[in-house]
Amino acid sequence: MKLRSRPKAEEESIDALLPTFIADGHQTRDTVDWSETADAALEREETAEAVRSKIDELPESYRTILVMHDLEEMSNADIAEALGISTNLVKVRLHRARQALRTLLEHQFGEPQ
């Protein structure tokens, strides 16, 4: 997997792609399980390209960590050293990046086609 270059932009917020909760800590809306639909779609050639396109939509500071960890299989410690940030920040951004990508894939696979 190659990191794709794209124009530098102001760092975008990822908050809109993260889950939201009500005061008692429960999810604002129920999550629908679209994993089986997506699993079936894995057999189609265009699915990988759709996933790459969604990864590209992530803000750069999150996308970089997601690609380094999940695709390049780098350790949190190695990513932290390469980027000059703490291991804890790597973990936080990785988890948020995956959650944001999950939301983007939900838009693709979790809604009626």
Binding site: M1, F21, Q27, D30
Partner: protein, 74 residues
């Protein structure tokens, strides 16, 4: 645990680094919360789909293909 805590701990749970008492609380919540179970399943599916894009980028070396075909002829 409630939903916000469970979703916060998903990565540690999948990495197997959640301490036993927290893991037990995590699983207790999953047993009664369909929404968090769906969230966990789709989070795991997301990682699987990422990895699939990596696998499709891999080019199998020609030498390896030849070696496999040669071995099958034996």
């Amino acid at each position: 645990m409630n939903c916000i805590e469970v979703i916060g701990f998903i990565m540690d749970y999948l990495d197997g680094v959640l301490a036993a008492p927290a893991r037990s609380e995590f699983e207790k919540h999953l047993a009664v919360c369909d929404s968090c179970t769906a969230y966990l399943r789709t989070y795991r599916q997301t990682i699987k789909m990422e990895i699939q894009t990596r696998i499709e980028d891999v080019t199998i070396p020609e030498d390896l293909v030849r070696a496999i075909l040669a071995a099958r002829k034996m």
